[in-house]
Amino acid sequence: MDSYQTSRVKEASYGRSLIPPCQVACPLHMEIGEYVDLVAQGKVLEALQVIRDGNPFPSICAYVCTHPCEDACRRSQVDKPIAIRALKRFAVEFGGDRMIQLEAETKQSEKIAVVGSGPAGLACAYYLRKLGYQVTIFEAYSELGGMLRVGIPQYRLPREVVDTEVQRLINMGVEIKVNTRVISLDLLFDMGYKAVFITVGAHQSLRMGIEGEESPGVIDGATFLREVNLGLKPSLGERVAIVGGGNVAMDAARAAVRLGASKVSILYRRSREEMPASPDEIEQALDEGVETIFLVAPTKMRRENGRLSVTCVRMELGEPDTGGRRRPVPIEESEFNMEFDSLVTAIGQAPQISDDFHLRLGRGSTIQVDPITLTTNRGGVFAGGDAVTGPATVTQALASGRQAAFRIDDYLRHRYPLVDKEVEETLSGELLPKTIEMIRKIERLEPPLLSPEARMKEFNAVELIYNWESAVDEARRCLRCGMGAEILFQDKCATCLTCLRVCPYNVPYLDDGGTIQIPPDQCQACGICVAECPAKAIVLRKPYDRRHIDEELEHALKSAAESKSKPLIVGFCCQYGLFGTGALASLWREGKAGIWIVPVLCVAKLEEGHVFRAFEMGAEGVFIAGCGEQCSRENTAFWVLQRVEKVRRILLQIGLEPERLQTFNLRATGGDTARALDDFTEQIGGLCLASVIKQEVES
């Protein structure tokens, strides 16, 4: 091949994918676009690998992450965001995450103490251990997990999941000390630990501060959930009130339902819009029969006649407070009474830090740390997780633990902490109406849920997993932000306007200077312009995408040459369709002798040169199988057919029958692809025979 062109590509080849909003929003900065695309290709193992590269405990996040990625997902500008968390769950389960064994060896001499075994502590231990340190986790309770164990109910996070992760850490060589409350940090240093990571969480429930809070039948949310998760079944009676609007309140309410309460009411002092709990949680709670009473707050409580009499006052929303939410203001003379059997307070938690630690504390009793290095006022003492931020999400805690591990490593190795100076380019966010208009609207596929009736009886996991087809179809809705096309060689661009004319999404445009721009935040990564550009000036941003078909093709041709099967038929099949659509799936499974499948990531990227190469290297027949109507991009079939016609014309001129090149499934669905393929194979066999006979006759 031409040396000039390959050397040009090498020079200019820096992986200029842009970071999509989902990845920016993720506290762990996971490569979400990558693994979603791998799920769409049916490559679950690879997807899980990408996930594990960015997340120490994918199985935990798969259940309970609050998915800020989905909130940032740009698909919501078209219809609904991609169900990323559910797809992660699918990859975790179908990729066999549970089976993965981990090992680590000790490469450093230092020991590090991790105080607290919540998600931040477990993550810190994981990364420190991988870096080769000796790690001891100190946990005051009898079981590891922190909020994972005592805060989140089992119907949201089954205990086996946490157990598996803990066991993996133990197999890696992390030392665990349970039932051990750390009372002095000096003691830890005396014991030989060179650094300490304090991550004791925020388990101390805030008090409402009203009369009667000590009455029997009033229990704080953290304690309540701990008891539930430890297997004690606290009896709440029939009518239960939950005060608060966050996830702890939801968890408490839904746990109460499962414990048999017949009427569970949530009392929240603001309105539904201000509730901090995640919308899914609220939905599911309502489905399970939980009642919500808004704009109400208890002012005093009294136990009488075996019941709790709770006096409440109605609230209205006034001016916003410092956090930006509108402050609730009691309406005068609006007191009224409600009767309950018990009441659970869930209005927030704070960390409980012993004074003996001599740590400087800040607002809400949280530990003050440097945001980059996570160091406290004491040398060698780091802190993270809810103990620093106040109650936050599991994923944020994991990120904190990971950060702490690397900062501790810097500290012990006397390195200046390297902050990511490179600002990677991110996507700007808003899709233009002219692009949104052309994107096909597809309903978001939710993972199946247990029915509310089934849920209310047990603590079994509420959310079930996708099946293959649903997972692939949902993953295909991804817009592939930042993975699209760019004009890499502006000097080759002749401004012929082909890209502008062929783009189904109206993305390329002429700027004021008369130069074509392909805005990366609008490009839907269909690949049509890349294949059609007459100057070969446009490439896909991901270097992997650029090489993909060439490499797969060469690999297939090499294997075919070695196997010497005849007649050789090469089939370019869409990888997405191989798993998503039933028609192509059967093609893949019933691989016949002599047929070599070259998986491509959408047939729109297939160029005439690829087809010619197959014929050049001995293919007697070539077929192209796409997803037809189910292709997640528009117009792809039209362009494939254009290229097919162009190649057929040439085949005719060089003495090859145009029927040797066929397409399947590109047009409307319907028709039996497997049978069509059989017919094609037969036809090619016939043509080969005919040409052999002809040669013999001529000679």
């Binding site: 091949m1 031409d2 000039y4 062109q5 000097d491 080759k492 002749a494 401004t495 012929c496 306007l497 082909t498 004319r501 062929v502 059609e532 550009c533 007459p534 100057a535 070969k536 005439e608 040169g609 010619f612 190469r613 014929f615 050049e616 290297m617 001995g618 254009q642 162009k646 040439i650 085949l651 001129q653 060089i654 003495g655 090859l656």
Partner: protein, 227 residues
């Protein structure tokens, strides 16, 4: 834009038969825009030729690919010197101009055409090209509301129309509009029909007689400047 079509591959094969090492030379300007001879088409032709070679028993060619920004200026061709040394012939996918300039620059090596240069025209839409200009050298678009009667009327008459149009389409090609009906309608819209009522005498067919040259360089006397 100069518009061309790639020659049929069988013709190309015939043309390159005597040569072993052939440099396939593309052009990055007009031939790219009209999709006949840019880098993409060079690659396409190369792949097609390789298939033909592989399947025939007499394939002895080695191909090199290269695309220059333009073939019609000598300076761009200077970049080719090393490549040309490694070739026995150049198959230029430039327009007729490009082929000839390359041949003039490299007179010691056969330079062969790979496209049929057809006309100067525009893209009506992707994949559809219409001739617009015949380079007659005597542009009279002012009289015909911007519609050229020489390229768009099959007879090239100046006092149109003839009687052959049916349904507004030319008698020679039912897909093409009758230029004079288009001219009439547009002049009517511009309220300039008297331009069509005028008598236009016979054309000067030899405004610049062939072989044609335009000299823009002035002959200046660099001697004493005494006013």
């Amino acid at each position: 834009m100069i518009v061309a079509e790639q020659k049929p591959v069988e013709e190309v094969r015939r043309i390159i038969t005597p040569y072993e090492r052939v440099l396939l030379l593309g052009c990055g300007t007009c031939m790219t825009v009209c999709g006949a001879g840019g880098e993409h088409e060079v690659s396409f032709l190369h792949s097609a030729l390789r298939v033909a070679e592989a399947r025939s028993s007499d394939g002895v060619h080695n191909f090199l690919e290269y695309t220059v920004k333009r073939q019609c200026d000598f300076e761009f061709l200077d970049l080719l010197v090393d490549k040309v040394r490694e070739a026995d012939a150049i198959l230029s996918l430039g327009c007729g101009i490009g082929v000839q300039v390359v041949a003039e620059r490299f007179p010691d090596i056969p330079v062969l055409p790979g496209v049929n240069t057809s006309f100067m025209g525009m893209a009506k839409e992707w994949g559809v090209w219409d001739e617009r200009c015949a380079a007659c050298g005597d542009c009279r678009l002012a009289e015909t509301a911007g519609i050229c009667p020489i390229t768009r009327c099959t007879k090239g008459i100046l006092n149109g129309p003839c009687a052959g149009a049916k349904n507004g389409k030319c008698e020679a090609n039912k897909d093409m509009d009758c230029a004079w009906i288009l001219i009439y309608k547009r002049l009517e819209k511009l309220q300039q029909l008297e331009k069509m009522r005028r008598y236009y005498p016979a054309r000067n067919f030899r405004v610049i007689p062939r072989p044609r040259r335009i000299v823009k360089k002035a002959d200046v006397d660099l001697g004493d400047d005494n006013g």
